[in-house]
């Protein structure tokens, strides 16, 4: 079977969202021959769904903003669990990354003096989000896509071939990262979704930028692509995942009609003046301001309303608390019986702004509700509820180089990388994360590859290729538990997995439920090995799903195990049985590794499972960065011994 087609590249980028494309641009500009491989069509990545904006302390709207303030907000939002060096680099470099987009043709909304306009968002002290209406993600993807086209046009002029140094393999999926005998990355094994054909891209550097894991949950704002592929690829290649228990539930997803349940309602609705009310008509968020944020948020509706026009002399409305707080508050209101008919709360802009302003500032929200729910948001309130949105956990990486730990040649950027956002991500920080660390991953991946030329290139092992091919073909020969019985339906397995994660490892977690989830995951794992498909290899979605199940099951187990282990509530991890934040947990990272590092997936023991968990103490925060905070604030987060240092 080794006659699989092979191509040689310097850098392979898996994923063509914001991080992947930014990495590819950087690698190509560093001189590396770069291949991008993505599951969808070029330009369709999930990044287009990002609405609010790109957080960058440019200070265009409030000149008091700077990277230190942004760093502070990011650490607060992440409850100080962030990999602080990442948060620092992110805050420092984000403005350059945004400005660079303009030189590639991006057109952001403008301020009166012609600079990039910035808007308010939850958790950000100043208006900070560069935006284009409520379609910023689309602008980002399109700009990067067009930059890639422009680089290809350069290559066409120079070499007569658009794809001489930068090629996008669209609608292709990577199922394995390949390694050489020394454990270094040597390439990736892929299949072309359209034809079902296998191929291998040989490369010393692989940048994983595959995004998140939301498709393991039933109610999610994520697209079908978000099956945790990159997380699983890294795990299978021997790299650890970090803090996978932290899953962000966006407070405002649509709740009705059922077919769109989970689709995102942008935070800009609240940033621009929208308020949350329960079925009694009460603005309930005032009751949910946690102690750590008490002095930063308004106590009365009057003060909150004044803030929009006079942010210097008033505190911000509690609707703009970090997402984890708002999501929990909504959850609590609904549980207390003060929810809407469809099990959400009301998000209202109609009484807060004139209809034209709403249509101008939130055009796609207007459109979305009109088209999908028959609701005119300029005349009535929206019904919203929490939806699985983002995973803060991810591949453990080196802060500066984005290199995955333990696997030379493997890099990760964007949502798939862990650490940057700590236990909770602020809105707007994901797009800037993509750009900052996408660029860094591309840069260091290209540098690493340039040192490995000729004989020194890691070689691809034919046995690994054969094994990967066999693994990918399994679903075509799957059988039921006993011969003659039909194989499992991958769609059914997927639905059961989503239901399990949603019900048992969702927004509020309990020990017994997570144990139950692990047992269910073990059962699904056994059944997934029998997942079978009809038809042939050409564009067969049943087959694609059967292959993705492996990844979703691996990632789901990581989440469940880590969530069970962390006996506190912090950011995107809320334990009903451990409802408070515990300072002792502040400096603990949880690392997930494959229990059977030889790569075998036979482990079906529900107790042990496929994942082993390890605790690790985080590196102390650099003193000059700690000095950016008041002592009183640090006391709330840091353990005693950390404070004394």
């Amino acid at each position: 079977m080794s006659q699989v087609e092979r191509q040689q590249w310097d850098v392979v980028v898996v994923g063509a969202g914001g991080a992947g494309l930014r990495a590819a641009i950087e690698a190509r500009e560093q001189g590396a021959r770069t291949a991008v491989i993505c599951k969808s069509l070029f330009g369709k990545a999930h990044t287009v769904m990002a609405e609010g904006g790109i957080a960058a302390a440019m200070g265009n709207v409030n000149e008091r903003d700077n990277w230190q303030v942004h760093f502070r907000d990011t650490m607060r939002g992440g409850k100080f669990l962030n990999q602080w060096r990442m948060a620092e680099l992110h805050a420092q470099e984000a403005p350059d990354r945004v400005w660079e987009l303009e030189t590639w043709g991006a057109l952001f909304d403008r301020t009166k003096d012609g600079r990039i306009s910035q808007r308010n968002f939850g958790g950000h002290e100043y208006p900070r989000l560069a935006h284009v209406g409520d379609r910023t993600g689309l602008e980002l993807i399109r700009t990067l896509q067009q930059k890639i086209v422009s680089l290809q046009q350069e290559d066409k002029r120079e070499f007569g071939d658009y794809e001489a140094r930068l090629k996008v393999f669209q609608e292709c999926t990577v199922t394995r990262v390949l390694k050489d005998a020394d454990g270094r990355v040597s390439g990736v094994f892929c299949y072309d979704r359209e034809t079902g054909r296998f191929f291998v891209l040989e490369a010393p550097s692989v940048v994983v930028a595959t995004g998140g894991i939301g498709k393991s949950f039933k109610v999610t704002s994520n697209s079908w692509e978000y099956t945790g592929d990159g997380h699983a690829l890294a795990l299978l290649a021997g790299a650890p995942l970090l803090n996978m228990e932290f899953v962000q539930f966006h407070p405002t997803g649509m709740v009705w009609p059922p077919s769109v349940k989970g689709i995102l309602v942008t935070e800009s609705v609240r940033g621009d003046g929208g308020v949350l009310r329960n079925s009694d008509g009460k603005r309930f968020m005032f009751d949910y301001i946690p102690d750590v944020f008490k002095d930063k948020y308004a106590e009365s509706e009057d003060e909150a309303d004044r803030w929009y026009d006079d942010p210097d002399n008033n505190r911000r409305p509690p609707e703009l608390l970090p997402r984890d707080e708002v999501a929990r508050a909504i959850n609590a209101e609904v549980k207390a019986g003060r929810g809407t008919p469809h099990g959400g709360v009301y998000l209202d802009v109609s009484t807060r702004m004139p209809a034209e302003v709403i249509k101008r500032r939130l055009p796609s929200m207007y459109h979305q509700f009109k088209e999908l729910a028959d609701v005119d948001i300029t005349a009535e309130a929206m019904e919203v509820g929490p939806t699985c949105h983002y995973v803060m956990g991810g591949i453990a990486v080196d802060s500066d180089t984005a290199a995955a730990r333990g696997v030379p040649g493997l890099y990760a950027a964007g949502e798939v990388a862990g650490g940057m956002h700590g236990s909770n991500r602020l809105g707007g920080n994901s797009l800037s994360d993509l750009l900052v660390f996408g660029r860094r991953a591309g840069l260091y991946a290209a540098q690493y590859a340039s040192g490995l030329t000729g004989e020194r290139r890691p070689s691809v092992d034919a046995e690994q290729v054969d094994a990967a091919a066999a693994e990918a073909l399994r679903p075509f020969s799957a059988e039921g538990p006993t011969p003659g019985e039909p194989p499992e339906n991958p769609y059914t397995l997927h639905q059961e997995l989503q239901q399990t994660m949603n019900d048992l490892v969702g927004i509020i977690r309990r020990e017994a439920e997570m144990e139950q989830a692990l047992r269910k995951l073990a059962e699904l794992r056994v059944r997934a090995r029998r997942a079978g498909v009809e038809g042939h290899r050409q564009f067969n979605p049943g087959w694609h799903l059967a292959l993705d199940l492996r990844n979703m099951l691996l990632v789901s187990e990581c989440i469940a195990r880590a969530a069970l282990e962390r006996t506190e509530s912090r950011g995107g991890h809320t334990r009903e049985d451990h409802p408070t934040m515990d300072r002792e947990w502040r400096h603990i990272n949880l690392l997930c590794r494959l229990a059977d590092p030889t790569g075998g997936l036979a482990a079906t023991d529900p107790v042990r499972g496929q994942i082993s968990l390890a605790r690790e103490t985080t590196e102390p925060i650099r003193p000059d960065l700690l000095a950016l905070f008041d002592k009183e604030e640090l006391v709330k987060y840091l353990a005693e011994e950390e404070l004394y240092e």
């Binding site: 999930h46 012609g114 209406g133 689309l138 697209s223 459109h367 088209e371 339906n489 050409q538 564009f539």
Partner: protein, 256 residues
């Protein structure tokens, strides 16, 4: 919640041939056509090929033709059809079919590469760009495009005349030319690219007979014809057919 059984005809096949297949499938309140296609996949036709991503009208992946009209499946609510109606879903008919509802949209990616990219202004570094909102409004409208390629699919210039594909960029990419020509800081002209002229000479603007189907099908509601194609035609006229403008620009250029 009320549900009923709907009758569907879905085109299944590939480049070798195929035809409409009949299905009966459950439909619930508030569902869109894409939900029904997914239900078919999960219950009756697991290998039914379909492209989709965001399911919220933002990525432009699930383009198809529903009862003969180019639409996004995720934005077509079942409630727009009567319960008795048989709903026909086919792949886009302007592009080569790959399988079932999936077509080869490579034409669009080829055309995208033929449009000269944004040329950044010399002498302005990152962070130094200043543009007024009214100067970017027009291009911003065009940048709302989600590249669903429904306009490319419906445009009769290529839909009904395969041979025109070589010479005609299609509404989406002519709109891209307009977007760049209206970009307040684009300096293509200084590098010798006259977008107004090349719109007609190289990207086939003359083929457009402004019959507005692109605008009709645009799920983003972009006024492609009125705001991009016709203004671009007028700009081409400035360059090629209007001696007064030509004379004016000559005189204008000579005066200091």
């Amino acid at each position: 919640m009320s549900s009923y059984e709907a009758r569907f005809k879905v085109w299944r096949g590939d480049a070798e041939g195929g035809g409409l297949e009949d299905f009966k499938v459950e439909v619930n309140d508030g569902e869109v056509v894409l939900d029904i296609i997914h239900r078919l996949q999960a219950t009756q036709a697991p290998d039914l090929a379909v492209r989709w991503n965001c399911k919220a009208g933002k990525c432009g992946s699930c383009s198809a033709e529903i009862n003969g009209r180019p639409r996004l499946m995720c934005m077509t609510r079942m409630s727009v059809f009567s319960r008795e109606e048989t709903i026909t879903v086919t792949p886009l008919r302007a592009f080569p079919v790959v399988r079932d509802l999936v077509t080869d949209v490579g034409f669009n990616y080829e055309k995208a590469r033929e449009i000269p990219s944004f040329v950044p202004p010399a002498g302005l570094g990152p962070g130094e760009y200043r543009m007024q909102q009214e100067d970017v409004d027009r291009s911003q409208e065009f940048r709302k495009c989600i590249e669903c390629f429904l306009c490319q699919d419906t445009c009769h210039v290529v839909r009904d005349h395969e041979e025109n594909k070589a010479a005609f960029a299609g509404p989406r990419f002519l709109m891209r030319v307009a977007e760049l020509d209206m970009h307040p800081l684009d300096e293509a002209e200084k590098t010798g690219v006259d977008r107004k002229r090349t719109a007609q000479d190289e990207h086939g603007l003359g083929y457009c007979n402004i019959t507005k189907c692109c605008t009709e099908v645009c799920p983003e509601g972009i006024k492609i014809t009125d705001n991009a194609l016709i203004p671009l035609k007028e700009r081409a006229v400035d360059r090629k057919y209007d001696p007064l403008v030509w004379l004016g620009s000559k005189i204008g250029r000579r005066s200091p």
